[in-house]
Homo-oligomer: 303 residues x 2
């Protein structure tokens, strides 16, 4: 459909979880001249921030209420954004519409994350909405390629990044958290249900206890989306907390798949990394950086 | 070389690390009519158990002393067995012979575990010894195939085992700890530098905190050797502690690659698993068990 022939867009419905990301996305969309309506999830969205926008509150599981609110506001496009820890069934409030699809929801919860999200996508689309990725309406939240701060990865770090990328490519089909820490060519941690922050805490602890004997400021966190992942719902995110956790684990830096992860405030994250002496690089998907491609990587250097 | 034409075998030198495994191996070798000499590593081997055998003490890193002792005792064959946490360089005592190969040792320590062990093998063989795997001289320490205790894996557990085996096959080339926990088709933990026991502790903790919401007695620990691993030095081991940790993590059971892992006391391990309500199965390498192969698995049932 050409831009000129496109039907007039209604406002964008943004279903808001925790963190700053929903407001960053809302601001970016408003900056492009489109109205937004926040559908804020009780217990996750930040009331102080939500206040600043046209909004309604709903509970996770109130599918009927969310649908009615979005329709009443004239929204056809919906974005889900913000952290949602995998909820317990007891934390959900199901309304009638949700009860109608409960068997599908239960099936969704029984599988891995991908499974869950894919089914939720279908349920939303079956109700007549168009589900968009936050990065589609606000591409500025994507991590760009290249060296993003003051510090650059060493040759050794680049080798560790290549190992991490290869490992994530191998584990991609398995629907697990896509983050790994490599130090001196050795894989020292792989993320699954615990999440990136806890994985980094584990490294800090193993180092303190002397189980891991590595020199300070060594090792790289490598993060990428799962190949099978529906990017509209669940791109990995990095931020100031990632930098803090990586610094506490005494890593040399972090490497994130360029355009494959989102961040609520890239500039603040890079400032923190600069101050902590960590590098941050966006690495093109499927193109492991190597010692001999330094020139390419710096081509897109920032700050 | 035919058995009849084989040269007379001298005693077997057993370099002993921590745990009960060295004495289990020594007893098995003695039971086959061959003499043994224990070369016990100070700080790792258990003095009370070592006492029961012909033995000498040495420190890890005293390569010259270990070689002299083994030669003086007429040993050509050497087995390394027992737990050795990756030592810090400062914990090692290098004698002159070790200093001669120090550059190779340092290189060995810089890589992953496989790398380390492969290089140590070469150093030992360059000194004129024949390095054997403990399971070659004492095959009774290998985990056999089939259901090993009173409890059997459910269909769901079998599906989890198949996922775990497939994932370990995918991560095999990366020289990382080969253990994974799968629950309801979802990979919830992957082992790297932390080791199996700590990985299982993590699951217990994530369950306690409600981060992992699984029904009790669900999930399977799947353990296999790395495809690239030199089995003479580093087959994975399971034992009573594995069962305790799996029970604390509220798993349904453990699946170990048959003939691909060792255990110091299979009967005691199986007794503990029976008491805790956990299944223990030995799964043939490269043949993921499925729901429709139950008959095959039970073909080799024990106790």
């Amino acid at each position: 459909m050409s831009v000129s022939g496109a039907p007039p867009e209604g406002p964008l419905a943004i279903v808001c979880g925790a963190g700053n990301m929903p407001y960053r996305v809302a601001d970016a969309v408003i900056g492009r001249g489109r109205r937004v309506v926040l559908l804020a999830l009780v217990g996750w969205a930040d009331p102080l921030q939500v206040e600043r926008y046209r909004h309604h509150w709903a509970r996770l599981g109130q599918l009927g209420r969310l649908s009615r609110l979005a329709r009443r506001e004239g929204c056809r496009d919906v974005v889900f954004i913000g952290a949602l820890t995998r909820p317990a069934i007891t934390q959900l409030r199901f309304d009638l519409a949700a009860l109608m699809v409960l068997p599908r929801l239960i099936k969704a919860f029984a599988g891995g994350d991908d499974h869950l999200l894919t089914r939720i996508c279908r349920i939303v689309e079956d109700r007549g909405f168009r589900l968009l990725g936050a990065h589609e309406v606000a591409p500025e939240i994507l991590v760009p390629p290249g060296q993003l701060g003051r510090h650059a990865p060493s040759e050794r770090d680049r080798a560790d990044i290549a190992v991490g990328q290869a490992l994530l490519a191998a584990t991609g089909p398995f629907d697990i958290g896509q983050a790994v820490v490599v130090a001196g060519n050795r894989v020292i941690a792989l993320e699954a249900a615990e999440g990136t922050d806890r994985m980094l805490e584990r490294i800090a602890q193993l180092r303190r206890e002397g189980v891991l004997k590595l020199r300070d400021k060594s090792g790289v966190l490598v993060k990428a989306p799962k190949p099978s992942q529906d990017r509209r719902l669940d791109l990995p995110s990095v931020g100031v907390r990632t930098i803090e956790a990586a610094a506490a684990a005494s890593l040399a830096g972090i490497a994130v798949e360029a355009h494959g992860a989102v961040t609520a405030d890239l500039n603040e994250m890079v400032r923190q990394a600069d101050a902590a002496g960590l590098f941050v690089v966006g690495v093109p998907a499927g193109e492991p950086i190597r010692g001999d491609t330094r020139g390419d990587m710096r081509g897109d250097m920032r700050g």
